[in-house]
Subunit: 694 residues, 2 copies
């Protein structure tokens, strides 16, 4: 029978790769050409859905409203430019990778920092959910058989990303560089060809150009009044999803090659320029080609005054645009679609780089369980990667991988973080200006403070717009999640603080004082080798008092045990505990407590014989009462629980295999395995040298 | 914050009741008037679906075929009479409640016994699934809003039954007696009124009397040829479901009041007579009232030559009959329907009485995990009850609570058991006849042998019929399940046997020899009270060698630790283990192994400081590496793992509460709780008497 843990070990090696030594940590740093695709794919890929959401939101007010889409795009681009410029200051001032969390904690205090952290954690999860869901919808356009199974497909993609990231940052960086560059090339080519044809007057109309849009009730007159203005703001808020990649770079500075800050700042500037170029190009060309895009195409798109119905397939804006620009030239369209689908999936990888780093920093500060601070086999923050993937999968299932519904929850967190971060930076410059005497440095700082102040005003305004326009559409869920994450992190920190207070070495050195006597108890139910070994080991420690204790569940068994015990003739008394309720745990617990009551200065050591098995299912057949008892005994002060293992034969082979699997370099494993096979007849002989020890 | 385990404890008390002492075991025995409803509800309730399945199967060959239904019923009744008579012999010969398993194991050997046990275990699960599913369908007739949610409803009922049985046999017996007697009264009244009206020539036709039945293809000519004969046999095999209650009584003999055997035999005879009366009455009256019943009413029932379609609601045979007998008198119909639905649900209780007893016997014999032999708080076999409920829930979900599909899997196991049991009884009498000298006893034995031989032939034939007619319709699933259960039980037994051989005290008394020296290791990562306590306890045991060991994951932490250690000035050396892969487990394991290699006669005791917490979520924040390390250390021979607990404040309150909840009789709990609250400032002071100990 195959052993489960063998297969698990082999699978782990296969998927995660061989472990990496600590001193190789420096090797996983990223050069700019790799860092750009790793950290920027999120922001870049949003051109695959941000223009769609702008058009879709405007189309609520009918066809006439959509003509202002390039202006909405320009507003988003302006904010993006400001934010990128602001963040270049952050990256230089705080190169350690705490990003917004560090900036805000340092300048505005730990509660504000924790707010930013909660917001970012939730938004990272949403980045994965939105990007992968959008990617799944592009894939469903390319592969029609995927339609209706987008959520399952998206979940599978998250799983693949998770495994890749568990293998380590650098490899995924290299792997992801190619499609990201291909995407850039594809979108740039489409834009250039499109503008050339537009200038020449030869851009063909889009497939949806001859359709009209039915405005929703209340918007029959187009974008007028308060409702019209509100709709424009909503379109802007949805388009602002294009800004999400920015903070990922500032959180990821330590992953850059030195000079870390300068490289990160350059990457940021590159990312901002590309994002703006892509989005504006797509919106301008989409308007020129008369691309029409609505939330419910079946009912709200009309052909000759009649709804097009369920048979109409609405392709994404970029897809329709490609079709128009290349006059239906199939190979070009296929390339752009495939590459777009791919970068959307890879965009989620940004979060897989940012989330675990942030989680690890929070764990270091005691806000998250310590496991998140543990580097896994491949130097990646394994636990954070697993947590992120889990959260994204839940979101994708809950929202059935629908981008338009998920995007309502999105970017609240990012803008909370942007705003607080810029406020923190303003404070940062104020603080430094108070002590800096050098005029040149002062003028640089003042310039930076102006930039960050503009960033603060801009991002604060956008945050208000996002909150107002999206709150009831789903943003409240994201805010609720942030509050929950905040409360949990605060609770974890409080717990760790309390434990530290309880356990830290103060002036009271009473814990150093030794117990006066040791009262040893060997628990047994039958007389066999495991209990005999426990007895021998207990005797070897020469306690002040030693007794064997059994619980009388069945009177006949006890009588038999008493007879055998007397025949054995060991100098240890046997105590029988009464158990009217056929329980093991309670009588033993009561007995131990009574010993402690009578001699409070004694240490009670309870020896429990335990079977050690090689297969998980064997575990079900043994040790159940022992496990319960151990757990309860640990609650009593002044008690030490000593497990005396008896290794069954199956465990020997298992141990040898595990040892070999985790020590591939060691030739000793084979020898150990061989010895284990020989030892099975006499697994342990402490006093007499056996044939293997001679 | 409310503590989860408090609520769980309170809920357990509320649902399961207070624990019962072993010496009260005798009090849960059943008098006949309670034993009949407890053990016979299964067999009795099958009249709610067995006639339906006979009519449904015959209707495949069209309307003309259904007229022979009373004759098929008579054949089932004949088998039932023979089996009941046979089992009265079993009950007298084997009163210990092993039932068929004991009879077959004793007379045909353990492998045959295990075959019977596998068959019965699977059939108990099916009894629950079929009865509860049928009950859910009756309930859906009465409460139309349940329709479409039968499976969920059935699962809920299984959950309720599980909880009731966890409370103990006697209470559920009393609770179930009333509806069972009501059901008997209801069916008898219906039958008597029906026959009186039939004799008077005034029995109105059933609601489905004017419909015709469309035969399935191949049966246009009715019940002719081989196919016709086969169909009659299939109808008989489905009707044989009425026999399932019989073996439950013979397995449950120990639960009867003395004289156990005679009371069980009387109950069996009573059950047989009632079952036969009910089934024949229903089939004869259904024929007289022209009740028509098919598997797919929408397509196969015709009104004036046209299919009735989905809007037609087909009521169960007993329901249609009640409607006819009482001329649509609503109160009578409602009473019969409700009572029938109720007894079907309660019928599943038969299995809840039989399965755990059999599971416990099998666990006693080492074929199932020992936990199944453990009596729970309320003297019920808790683990068996949980296993049965789990299996039934899986079946109900898998077959969507459809009785006609589940019934194809049913009764294979019971007839395997019947046949082997009768064969065993024949051997039993042969064996006793070989030594019995008394002529009167010999003639009684010969008479019994004749009865069991007839039973053997009859049940063997039925088993063949069931296998042939139902195998491809689903019986193969039941057979596969039996084979799997058989293999698992054999594997468990082999494992226990092997462990016994490995651990039993043979002539080799080397395990009694004491290790020559004790090498104690205290693991630590930081210096705080928990590690100091572990160190103090380890020193108190006065080992031959004592050292503190830490793993160098972070060089800075180790340097700091070294400094603190030197400042502490304890006479214990600190050993630092290198860990290039940032692991804890492997370096410690390797170090312990190296000690054992150098001094194979030493005992290594590893002291691990552990946090003890009060809430489950706190557990997530601590001890994760300690747990992994402990598990792996136990695989090494010659190593004892000693957990030194440090009780955090939250654990004190938790411990006091648990103690109070499990010792309601003890006034000491309150005192303990109070003391725990006082102790929180100084949880443990071994050497100096504290204020509470003075």
């Amino acid at each position: 029978m195959a052993r489960v843990s063998d297969i698990a070990d082999a699978a782990k090696r296969l998927i995660v790769g061989r472990p990496v030594r600590s001193d190789r940590l420096g090797h996983t740093l990223l050069p700019k050409r790799i860092a750009l695709p790793v950290f920027a794919s999120d922001a870049l890929s949003s051109v695959a859905y941000a223009p769609d959401e702008i058009l879709l939101t405007l189309s609520i007010a009918g066809l006439s409203a959509t003509v202002i889409s390039p202006w909405v795009g320009l507003a988003v681009a302006a904010v993006l430019a400001v934010v990128v410029t602001s963040y270049r200051q952050n990256v230089h001032a705080y190169p350690s990778g705490g990003g917004d969390y560090e900036v805000v904690t340092t300048n505005l205090g730990p509660k504000a920092g924790l707010t930013v952290a909660s917001a970012l954690l939730v938004d990272y999860v949403l980045t994965v959910a939105v990007s992968v869901s959008s990617g799944a919808q592009y894939a469903a356009v390319a592969i029609p058989s995927l339609r209706g199974h987008e959520a399952l497909f998206a979940v599978s993609i998250v799983a693949v990303l998770m495994v890749m990231n568990l293998r380590g940052v650098k490899e995924s960086g290299r792997l992801f560089a190619i499609p990201t560059y291909l995407f850039m090339a594809a979108v740039l080519t489409t834009a250039i060809v499109g503008f050339v044809r537009l200038a020449a007057g030869g851009l063909p109309p889009a497939e949806s150009a001859d359709l009209t849009i039915l405005p929703e009730s209340g918007f029959e007159a187009g974008l007028v009044g308060l409702a019209g203005g509100f709709l424009v703001l909503r379109a802007f808020a949805s388009g602002a999803a294009a800004l999400t990649g920015v903070e990922a770079i500032s959180n990821g500075v330590p992953a850059f090659k030195p000079p870390k800050s300068r490289n990160a700042a350059t990457t940021l500037a590159l990312l901002g320029s590309l994002s703006i170029t892509f989005m504006i190009s797509i919106l301008v060309l989409a308007k020129a080609a008369h691309v029409h895009y609505v939330e419910l195409p079946a009912t709200n798109l009309l052909r000759d005054g009649v709804a097009v119905g369920d048979s109409y397939e609405q392709h994404p804006v970029l897809g329709q645009l490609t079709h128009s620009v290349f006059s239906g030239f199939s190979p070009a369209i296929v390339v752009v679609s495939v590459v777009t689908g791919l970068i959307l999936v890879l965009a989620a990888n940004t979060a897989f780089n940012g989330f675990p780093v942030l989680g690890s920093i929070l764990a270091r500060d005691g806000f998250l369980p310590r496991q998140l601070h543990t580097r896994g086999d491949r130097l990646a923050f394994s636990n954070g990667i697993l947590a992120l993937a889990g959260g994204a999968v839940v979101l994708i299932w809950a929202f059935d991988a629908q981008v338009t519904r998920l995007i309502q929850l999105y970017i609240v967190g990012v803008f909370v973080s942007f705003t607080l971060s810029q406020l923190g930076m303003v404070r940062h410059w104020n603080r430094h200006l108070a002590t800096e005497p050098d005029p040149a440095a002062r003028s640089r700082m003042k310039r930076s403070r102006v930039i960050n102040s503009i960033g603060l005003v801009m991002t604060g305004m956008v945050l208000i717009v996002v909150l107002i326009t999206k709150f009831s559409h789903g943003a409240w869920i994201a805010i609720l999640a942030m509050v929950i994450v905040y409360v949990i992190m605060l609770g974890v920190r409080r717990h760790y603080d309390q434990v530290r207070d309880e356990t830290s070495m103060d002036d009271d050195h009473s814990v150093l004082a030794l117990p006066s006597r040791v009262h040893a108890i060997v628990l047994l139910s039958r007389l066999h080798k495991p209990t005999m070994r426990a007895l021998a080991y207990a005797r070897a420690t020469r306690p002040s008092v030693l007794e064997a204790v059994t619980v009388a569940v069945d009177p006949e068994d006890v009588a038999e045990l008493r007879k055998q015990w007397d025949a054995l003739d060991v100098p240890v008394p046997l105590t029988v505990l009464d158990s009217p309720f056929r329980e093991i745990t309670r009588p033993v617990l009561g007995y131990v407590k009574s010993i402690r009551r009578e001699s409070p200065r004694d240490l009670v050591v309870v020896y429990i014989p335990e079977y050690v098995v090689g297969h998980w299912w064997e575990q079900l057949l043994h040790n159940q009462s022992a496990l319960r008892l151990k757990t309860r005994l640990l609650f009593s002060p002044g008690v030490v629980v000593a497990s005396v293992p008896w290794q069954l034969q199956s465990s020997h082979q298992q141990e040898a295999k595990t040892w070999q699997a985790t020590h591939p370099e060691s030739a000793r494993a084979a020898a150990l395995k061989e010895r284990a096979a020989r030892e099975t007849r006499r697994p342990d002989e402490p006093t007499r040298p056996g044939p293997t020890d001679a």
